[in-house]
């Protein structure tokens, strides 16, 4: 099992992975659905360029955290959808804990709003 660890230099990729894994907890998704879900749930804050999603999805799949499969959707052709594996669920939970701790400490330092 991969051990999550937040390091300053890997914050962005780590954040992207956590967002994708969390979005997949709601069920299997196509790549484009993931991008739109994250955009909608964050009120447009996380606007993923889909090009950046592919390397993350493929990396997570290689690591066994998600599993991808093709589905034949008739006239629309073949689509690839991804689902979270058991290992991915554990990893996502641990990652979220790490992020909450990180955000709490960050807010302790910088404050929730300007004084």
């Amino acid at each position: 099992m991969k051990h999550p660890a937040l390091e300053i230099r890997s914050l962005t990729p780590n954040c992207n992975e956590t967002l994708i894994l969390t979005a997949l907890e709601k069920g299997a998704r196509h790549g484009y659905q993931l991008a739109l879900d994250l955009e909608e749930r964050s009120g447009g804050f996380f606007e993923f360029k889909h090009g950046t999603l592919y390397p993350i999805l493929h990396k997570l799949e290689k690591e066994g955290l998600i599993a991808g499969s093709w589905s034949d959707e008739g006239l629309r052709g073949k689509r690839r959808h991804y689902r979270l594996t058991e290992m991915g669920q554990e990893y996502a939970r641990a990652q979220r804990e790490q992020w909450r701790t990180f955000v709490d400490h960050l807010v302790d330092v910088i404050g929730r709003s300007e004084p």
């Binding site: 484009y32 950046t52 993350i56 052709g77």
Partner: protein
Amino acid sequence: MSRFEAVLREISGRVNLPQPARTRVLAEIAGDLDDFFQAFLERGASEEDAERQALGHIDLSDEALRDLARVHGNWFRRLSDSIAERAGSRWELTLVGLLVLLAVFLSGAVVQAVPICRAAGAWLIPVACAAVATLGIGAWKAHVLWLRGDHRPKGLHAGLGAMLGLSVLQLFLAFAGVWVTAWAALRAVGLEPAQAGITTMHWLLGALALLVMGMSLALVCGLAWFILLGKVASIERAEAAALLPD
């Protein structure tokens, strides 16, 4: 025909990943482009707007392509990608250049040292040059297909025709050498009939050595061509399998 065909062609030219990852990425992009387009249409966008927004969402940057290559590439690809992009290609070219120089040097040393090569005479030089060129192309091709894992269809067959042509050229040059030296030997016998036996024997040994060397080198080059052709065929099969996974 997809409305994004031109974009997909442009992306296809940039995605230099090994198969079947390459086809998989392209199939995913094609599907996602269509899905984005439909999703934006359903949200009330015009066709032009939906197309523009779909393309804006995909935006496969060079950085994303490098990340994909890191995920799907082999150890060599990851190593060369970890060096700066331009420096990496220069480094690869230098490596292949050094290997070719080494091959030329070794060929020269072998020609000087091995009796059969000495017996084959000057005609062996063009035959050996063609063999070195063939093996040089083969080494570059092997480097691209196995080490770099660049399986773009455009360059997949590049160099294979030249390898086959150069292998045939080796045979042609060896036979041409036999015929030319035969003509020279016959002329020498005509001028000095008393030396006919020695001249004939000398020609026979030289012709035999040249033929053996020419055919052996052509065989080795032909084998290299055959192995590379097999690799290209397996890449194309993997591409077809990725398109039709069931």
